[in-house]
């Protein structure tokens, strides 16, 4: 019987070594594998390259990992003004940033997962983010050449998972998770519920199990349970 489940996050991240590249799913708090990131922080690996939409906000998950000085490079589209831990270290020159437009980041990850060698996108042509990139005119329009982005490890967050690695997301959790699942050597998913194999209907499996190596059930990170401080939404 295939069984990709592991008992806790510590075990799930135990094999990560210094210098690893790690993709983190999530956009905002939705679909953020916060418990795996916290376990990685305790695990202690350093000199990490993080591939993620943002650079971590606040003092938890990626923000805290960056604050600990364990990240040497971030590949991201939007290090938000609220990414204070990143900002501080970036301005001191302690951390490298490769800034990639969000759609290009998505597509580069997808190219890695789909076995493509690279692609041409119009995004960024004629801007300062085109610096150093090869460009090409196709049918009269300028495109930039972009290469795939692979990772040693991928952290995902889903709503349900099974022992085969099948995952289902809720709401806007799927964001980067589905595509990142295809682009890592070792793919680890944090889920809120482990269901029996076949418990996710075949037409609702968002990430098929063959992309996933480990599944861990863990309660939602407390910071991902917070409601807005005052009436109304954030």
């Amino acid at each position: 019987m295939i069984d990709k489940t592991v008992s806790d996050c510590r075990q799930a991240v135990a094999m990560i070594t210094d210098g690893s590249s790690i993709m983190l799913g999530g956009f905002g708090n939705a679909g953020m594998p916060a418990q795996l990131i916290e376990a990685l922080r305790e695990h202690g690996a350093r000199n990490l390259t993080i591939i993620s939409n943002g650079a971590g906000t606040g003092d938890y998950a990626l923000g805290a990992l960056v604050g600990d000085g364990k990240v040497s490079k971030v590949v991201a589209s939007f290090p938000a003004p609220s990414a204070t831990q990143f900002r501080e270290r970036y301005l001191r020159g302690e951390i490298e940033l490769e800034l990639v437009p969000q759609g290009t980041l998505v597509e580069r990850i997808r190219a890695a997962g789909a076995g493509l060698g690279g692609f041409y996108t119009p995004t960024g042509a004629g801007t300062e983010l085109a610096a150093g990139k090869e460009s090409r005119v196709i049918n009269g329009r300028e495109y930039l050449f972009e290469l795939p982005i692979h990772a040693d490890f991928v952290f995902l967050k889903a709503y349900q998972g099974d022992r085969l690695g099948n995952l289902m997301y809720r709401g806007t959790m799927r964001n980067f998770n589905m595509v990142m699942a295809t682009a890592g050597k070792t793919v680890i998913a944090e889920v809120e519920q482990i269901v029996p194999a076949g418990g996710i209907p075949p037409e609702q499996v968002h990430t098929p199990g063959l992309f996933v190596d480990r599944v861990v059930q863990v309660a939602r990170h407390p910071r991902l349970l917070e409601l807005p401080k005052e009436g109304g939404a954030a």
Binding site: F27, G28, N29, A30, G31, A76, S77, F78, P79, A80, P81, A83, F86, R87, Y90, L91, L97, L99, V100, P101, Q102, G103, T104, V106, E107, R110, T121, P122, T123, G124, A125, G126, T127, E128, L129, Y159, R170, G171, T172, M173, R174, N175, F176, N177, M178, V179, H206, R220, L224, L225, L227, P228, G231, G232, A233, A234
Partner: protein, 230 residues
Amino acid sequence: MMLTRDGIAWRIARDLHEGDYVNLGVGIPVLVSNYLDRTQEIFLHSENGILGVGPRPKRDEIDLDLISAGKGFCTLSTGAAIFDQPISFAMMRGGHLSHAILGAIEVAENGDFANWKVPGEAVPGVGGAMDLAVGTPNIYVAMSHVTNKGKPKIVKTCAAPLTARQCVKRIYTDLAIIDVTAQGLVLREVMPGNDPASVQAKTEANLIVAPDWREMDVPETATNGARLRN
């Protein structure tokens, strides 16, 4: 008279119609959602993976897994769809949305614009702005006509780092509505109390005054900060 930020959003909302698929950027653009005609079906796109963003939830309606691109909680409108990043950006880059309403630091007379990197800001962040800009047929810019220091933001050539070249179709400011055309910038509407000459005086680029230019038709509440209705 000048439009408030909400006033600009209100005016833009008047130009969106049934069947439009619209992405609203941060700042003034996101305010547009408050002024849409609720009798028309206009679908709002959120780049994190929603087509059909609904109003903000009441506190007891919040779904922790349902957020929009601004990272705040949201609801879904009737007939909404949820999807992942590759599909969301295929919609944006592939030209499937009808409109993107975006803020800007500067717009040039050829439709170039800059909105992602404030000059002097040491930590850059770009997000989905460049993808929207290259892909969406109708890029509408919403911004103040001049900076806090009175410097024109509609210029001959952008000084700030570009978001994309030659993509802006229309500019909505607190003073005017200006179309970007092959002939140049065409002044369409002017706020009451101003005229084409006074708008040109606050604009670095040359404005072509449309033969049928007119005063903008907005309620007083669009200019005085009182509560606007959609």
